[in-house]
Subunit: 410 residues, 2 copies
C-alpha cells in the first residue's frame, strides 16, 4: 500500500545546522526494505552526556533493555538505529543481537560498550539480521559527517509519510548553543509496530544528571502528552545527548536562571517533534489540541485530557466535523478523575458550548461548526474542581486509520 | 442513516414466558422518535426485591443518581424507561425531571417513591420532556400484562439493530423458577449516547442483599467484561428484580448449595445478554473472545484482557482477518500488569502462534488464517506469571464504526 503524505505535514523539512561534536551517517543495509537507507549511526565526541525516556511497556524490546542499562552511566559515544526490524519479541536471540551490535560499534569507535545506544523499529517477532549492521559499521564510520540530519531522519522512518526534524538556537550562560532533533512515528502499524523514536543533540555542556532531568520533564510535556490510538509501542525511545562543545558553564540545577532559555527552547523543540508525530498519525485529517483545567492536579488534568484524546467516539466526532460535546462529557466521566458535573464547562474553537453542566442558553452552533471544518481543532474543558491543568494533543480517527490497519495485509 | 441488522445478530428473539409478579407495558410517547414505542413500564408485585449495577462514570446522569439512591432500600415496584433522550448533562433540570417522573409513578401505583426506578437513553444535553411520560402513566398502567417482553426490549432500543432478550428456567431449593432479561446497547452513538441498559426479572424469592450480590458478581463476569469501544456511558444501568412468587425458601448466602443452579443460570443469562450487546457493536463483523491466563490475579487478567480488547490495533487487525500476535503482545505490555516477556504464549483459534516469548518454530499460518476468516474469533494469552485468569469479549473495529460515528451527522 502506497501511503500518501499526511495532509497535516509541515511544508518543508527544516534547515538543520551542524552541531559541534555530533556526526551522522546513514546506509542502505537491506534489513527489510530494499534500496533505501535503513541504518543510522550518530556519533558523539568524547565527554558527551546522555539522558533518555523509554517505553513503559512491560513487554519492551531488547534494544530498550540495553538503553535502560546504559543510561545509568550517562555517557554517549554513539546511537545505532535501524528501521525495518524492531528486534522485539525475539526472546534471547534479541538480546544476543543487541550485544553483538553494541560490541562491534564500541570496537569500531574504540570506546566503552556502555556508551553505545541502540534502537530498532519495524517488524516484530523476526530475528534481527544484525550482521547486516555490524558489517556496515566501517563504512558508516568513514561516512560520518556533521551534515546528514535530513538523511538521518529519513533512515529511521518506517510507515511515516514525512521525515521529522526540528532545530533551534538558544543561549546558556551567554553562549549560543544549538539543539537539533529528529523523530519518527505515526501510530503502530503492523507488520511494522511503528515505534516512536526521537534523538536530540545539542552542543551545550550539561551534566548527565541535568540531561536526564531535562528530557524526563520535557518528554512529559511533549511525547508523553500525545496519543494517536492509545497503543504503546514496545520500543519507544527518546534520547538527548549533549556534547559540551559550546563551552558554557555547567549548572547542576535545571531550575537555574541561566538554563531557563535552554529549557524553554528544548521543550519547544520536543513539542514541535511530538506534534509532527501526531500530524503523521495514521489516517489523521485533523490536529487536535485538548486543554483541561480546573482539575484536582496537573496529573489528573492530563489523565482527563488523555481520556478525551483516546476516546474513539470523540475522535470520530471530530473526523465528522461534529462539535459533539456530549462525547467529551462522557470521556471526562470515564477518566476516573474527579469532575463536578454541574460545574463542567466545554469550549471548542474558543466558543463556550456548555457551562455549569448544561448547554449554554441560546447557543449558536455556527462559529463552532466553522471551526470544526478546519485542520486545527481546539477543545477546552474545565472540570470545576481545583486548579490542575494540562494540554494533550491527538488526531482524529478516520477511515484512513482502518484502511492502514485493517485493509493492509503484509 | 438506516442501520442494517448486525451480521452477528441471533436468528430470532427468544420465547420469553410470563414471570409471576412482573407486568409490562410500552407506549409511543414521542420523546424523540415518531411512531415507535419509546417508554416502558415494568411493574412488580409488592414484596419484590431489587439489586443493581450502575455506570462508574463520574459524570453520570440524573436517572443513575436516582437509582443509586433507591437501591439502598432494596425494594422495587416499577422501572420506568424511556428511549430517545438520556436526560444526561441536563443539570438540575435533569434531577427535577426524574423527581416528577418518580412521584407520578409512585402516585399512579400507590407505592413509596423509593421503590420506583428510572432509566433514560438517547440524546444527551436536551431537557427530558417528562410530561410526555407522566401523562401516559395511566394508559401504561391499564395496559400492563405479563406478556410484552419483546415489545419491552424493542421500546428501549436506540441505535440497536436488533432487540435483545434471554430467558432461562432453573431451580431454587426444589422450586422451578424463571429468569427473563432484556438489554439494549451497541456502543455509544451520537447524538444518542447509546447507553447499555439491562433489566432482569425472576419469580425466585431472594433477599435484597442476595439480589445485590448476585447482580454485582454476575455483572463482573458479563456486562463488565465486554467492551465495544472502551467508552463508558453516563447512563449504564443493570437492574435485577426478584418477585418471590415462586415461593422458594430464602437463602442468605449466595454460595448456598441450593442457589448454585440459580447462580449458574443467572450468570449464563447475563453473559448471553452481554454477548448480544457486543454482537450489535457498531460496525461489528466479528465476535471476539479473549481468554487470559497466567496472570498475577483474576483482576490483573481482566485488565490485560480489556487492554487487548480495547486496542484499536488489535481490533483493526481482526477486522482485517490478520492473526497479528505482535499487536496482542503490545497490548499486554501496555496494560500495566505483570507479564513475563520470555514466557508469554499466544494462541488464536486454538493454534499456538508464540510460546516462551518467541514465535513457535515452523509455525504454519494456514489453520489460523482460516480461523480469522470466521465470525467467532478466539484469542488466548498466557502471560506466564501466576494463575489469574479472565475472559472478556469484544468486536472488531471496522469502517462501519467510522461510518456510524463520523459520517453520520444529526
Amino acid at each position: 500500500m502506497e501511503l500518501l503524505k499526511s495532509p497535516l505535514a509541515p511544508a518543508n523539512f527544516p534547515n538543520m545546522p551542524a552541531i559541534d561534536g555530533v556526526q551522522l551517517s546513514t546506509r542502505a543495509c537491506g534489513i527489510k526494505y530494499q534500496g533505501r537507507k535503513d541504518v543510522l549511526l550518530m556519533a558523539f565526541d568524547e565527554g558527551s552526556t546522555i539522558g533518555g525516556v523509554l517505553t513503559k511497556s512491560l513487554t519492551c524490546s531488547a534494544p530498550v533493555e540495553c538503553c535502560q542499562e546504559h543510561l545509568k552511566f550517562g555517557q554517549a559515544r554513539a546511537i545505532v538505529v535501524n528501521s525495518g526490524n524492531a528486534n522485539a519479541f525475539t526472546g534471547k536471540l534479541g538480546n544476543a543481537s543487541v550485544s553483538r551490535t553494541v560490541a562491534a560499534t564500541a570496537a569500531e569507535l574504540g570506546c566503552a560498550k556502555e556508551s553505545i545506544f541502540v534502537a530498532s523499529t519495524g517488524v516484530i517477532g523476526e530475528p534481527l539480521p544484525d550482521e547486516r549492521i555490524t558489517s556496515a559499521l566501517g563504512q558508516l564510520k568513514s561516512d560520518l559527517s556533521s551534515d546528514h540530519w535530513q538523511a538521518a531522519a529519513e533512515a529511521i522512518m518506517t510507515t511515516d509519510t514525512f521525515a521529522k526534524g526540528a532545530s533551534v538556537k538558544t543561549q546558556v550562560g551567554g553562549k549560543t548553543v544549538t539543539i537539533n532533533g529528529i523523530a519518527k512515528g505515526s501510530g503502530m502499524i503492523a507488520p511494522d509496530m511503528a515505534t516512536m523514536l526521537s534523538f536530540i543533540a545539542t552542543d551545550a555542556a550539561l551534566s548527565s544528571a541535568v540531561v536526564q532531568s531535562l528530557i524526563s520533564r520535557g518528554a512529559d510535556l511533549s511525547f508523553n502528552a500525545i496519543t494517536v490510538d492509545s497503543d504503546t509501542s514496545t520500543s519507544d525511545t527518546v534520547l538527548l545527548c549533549a556534547t559540551g562543545k559550546a563551552g558554557n558553564a555547567i549548572y547542576q540545577d535545571i531550575n537555574a536562571p541561566e538554563l531557563a532559555d535552554f529549557v524553554s527552547a528544548l521543550n519547544g523543540l520536543l513539542r514541535d517533534l511530538a506534534h509532527q508525530v501526531v500530524r503523521d498519525g495514521e489516517g489523521a485529517s485533523k490536529f487536535v489540541s485538548i486543554f483541561v483545567s480546573g482539575a484536582e492536579s496537573d496529573t489528573a488534568a492530563k489523565k482527563i485530557g488523555l481520556a478525551i484524546a483516546n476516546s474513539p467516539l470523540v475522535k470520530t466526532a471530530i473526523a465528522g466535523e461534529d462539535a459533539n460535546w456530549g462525547r467529551v462529557v462522557m470521556a471526562v466521566g470515564k477518566s476516573g478523575e474527579r469532575a463536578d458535573r454541574d460545574k463542567l464547562s466545554i469550549a471548542m474553537g474558543g466558543v463556550i458550548i456548555a457551562k455549569d453542566g448544561q448547554r449554554v442558553e441560546g447557543f449558536d452552533e455556527g462559529p463552532v461548526a466553522q471551526h470544526m471544518k478546519g485542520q486545527d481543532i481546539e477543545v477546552a474543558v474545565d472540570v470545576g474542581i481545583c486548579t490542575g491543568s494540562a494540554t494533550v494533543w491527538t488526531c482524529d480517527l478516520t477511515h484512513g486509520y482502518i484502511e492502514i490497519n485493517a485493509d493492509y495485509r503484509s
